[in-house]
Amino acid sequence: MAAPVIEVKDLYKSYGPVEAVRGVSFAVEEGEVFGLLGPNGAGKTSTVEILEGLRTPDRGVVRVCGLDPQESGDRFKERIGAILQQTNLPDKLRVKEAIELFADLYQKHADTDELLRRFQLVEKSTAFYKNLSGGQKQRLALAMALVNDPQVVFLDEPTAGLDPQVRREIYDIIEDLKRAKKTVLITTHYIEEAERLCDRVAIVDSRKVIADGTPRALKHNSAGSTRIELRLARPLTNGALAHIDAVMNCREFDGSYVLHSSRPPATIVALVKQLEAEGNELQSLEMFSPSLEDVFIELTGRRLRE
């Protein structure tokens, strides 16, 4: 089996008396999109900035493409691309100039016109950086991150603060990277981002990794229940659904019944039988699987964005 492209072992980092990362370990295989999911202040950015070579770890082992980010200098930088949590460029630098400048800094670079087309920046190619919208700035940051055709891409909160439309555009770009078999490490506190984009996720809280695996496996392994929302032709008496097989709790909400089930198939079979017996019928039924948010709540007792 090939060595992981990104390898982090027992990583520690403090800023003065403030501990930012406490014993973080994970590995990312080639071509994998790996997410660090956690609330603000969990230590995600510190971890990714250590991986980018921007910060020095206090303790632990870090390897990217087999290289130590602190020791390997330009050889390392030629192989990575990155979006910082906040990218800034001079106000009066034009979009095309920025991409061409960064292309010139690398030994190998992508076609800059192609990058402008791909990131829908052709019309803005002569615009000053200060006149770009948040989404355009982020697309430019992505173009600059890919200007050297990197092997590994680090994306630190790439959609934070962007509107849903722009966020979806960024997701499309990251899915392109996934199809191109790039190794991507993404930090986020958006559940849907981690679930949609990541092959594997490490949940980070209180400066350490508290669970990792594929989003599906994390949800499957959790004790989180499936939520079933249903509407009936005739209302039921209080508590009539609470005794159905595998139902953990039931409550009525605005004419709908909301059940939480540990075994949804068994619950639905039992529900249909009971309704038939009572001469009632289903008007609608929706099921909601446990999300990574549920997993996070189960692990920490808090919501992700509290």
Binding site: E52, G53, L54, G73, D74, K77, E78, I80, A82, L84, Q86, T87, N88, L89, P90, K92, L93, E97, E100, L101, F102, D104, L105, Y106, Q107, K108, H109, A110, D111, E114, M144, L146, N148, D149, A180, K182
Partner: protein
Amino acid sequence: MSASQAIDRGSRPKYFAATWSLTKVRMLLAMRNRTFFFFSLMMPMLFLIALVIFVGRHGGFISEYALGDLLTLTVMGSFWGLSVQLVTFREQGILRRFRLAPIGAGPLLASSILSNYVMTLPTLFVEILVCRWVLHIQNWGNPWAIFLLITFGSAAFSAFGLIIASVTNTMQETQLINQLIWLGFLFLSGATVPLSLMPMWIRRAALFMPATYLAAGLQTSTTNTVNFFDLATDLLGLAVSLWVAFEISRRLFRWEPEAKVPGRAKLWVIAAMIPFFVFGAYENLHGHLLDHIDQTLNFHSIAASQPTRPALPAQAEIPPQLSNLR
């Protein structure tokens, strides 16, 4: 992005190419910056207008001498802009983005110095042309000496500015230190008030300042009262200072806005001044720079009494009483 789309530069000398690319962008940014236009183009032109008003009627040597001062002020201005710009870039987090690219501090700093030099040259050229036209200066001075002093002076003073940027943590701190040092350069170097008019202790202290060597060198070069080899001390001082200042600013360079320079690192600034401590000590003990400065001013006093003095095409035509000038 497939690898096949990538363009490989092979063994191209990367640092040179990166420095040149950064230099071009820095020049573009400067040309789009109103503050740059004011301080780098308008201010020197205001000095030039003042010069024309106050010196214009004298003509001859006085004008040539004053042109040397004007060029000195413009070249010393290199000190200002770069430190402010670098601190701004750091505070805004712009340098962080460059840190991810495979370039070190060297190309970034070199591009600052180079772009500043290229952007200063047209101003200096205009000043020389306007002085020749409006002040009726017939003498081209010593063009090679002027060129070398401008080149090494601009680079050295830019590098001093970069050191200031490296050891200050905020824009306010940078501005304060810049102002203090600039005032010293302005009034103690002989560029605005001739050193010959100063008390002896100030004149001796001025010998420890880089600006003094630049001012003295340009004054004697524009008046053509010097031959090329006599400028060795000035040029050597500026060249060594450039090298030392560049190396120190490269070592102290900080990419991160929150990275604070340790107190002891500020002592490195003193290292940038070592060449001038050495030259200052030498000049105070054994040198003749102050004598030369006095003689140049006497020379101008004599010349000022001959407002229509013809041009001095060659050293051989300098009057005998002035032949010992450097």
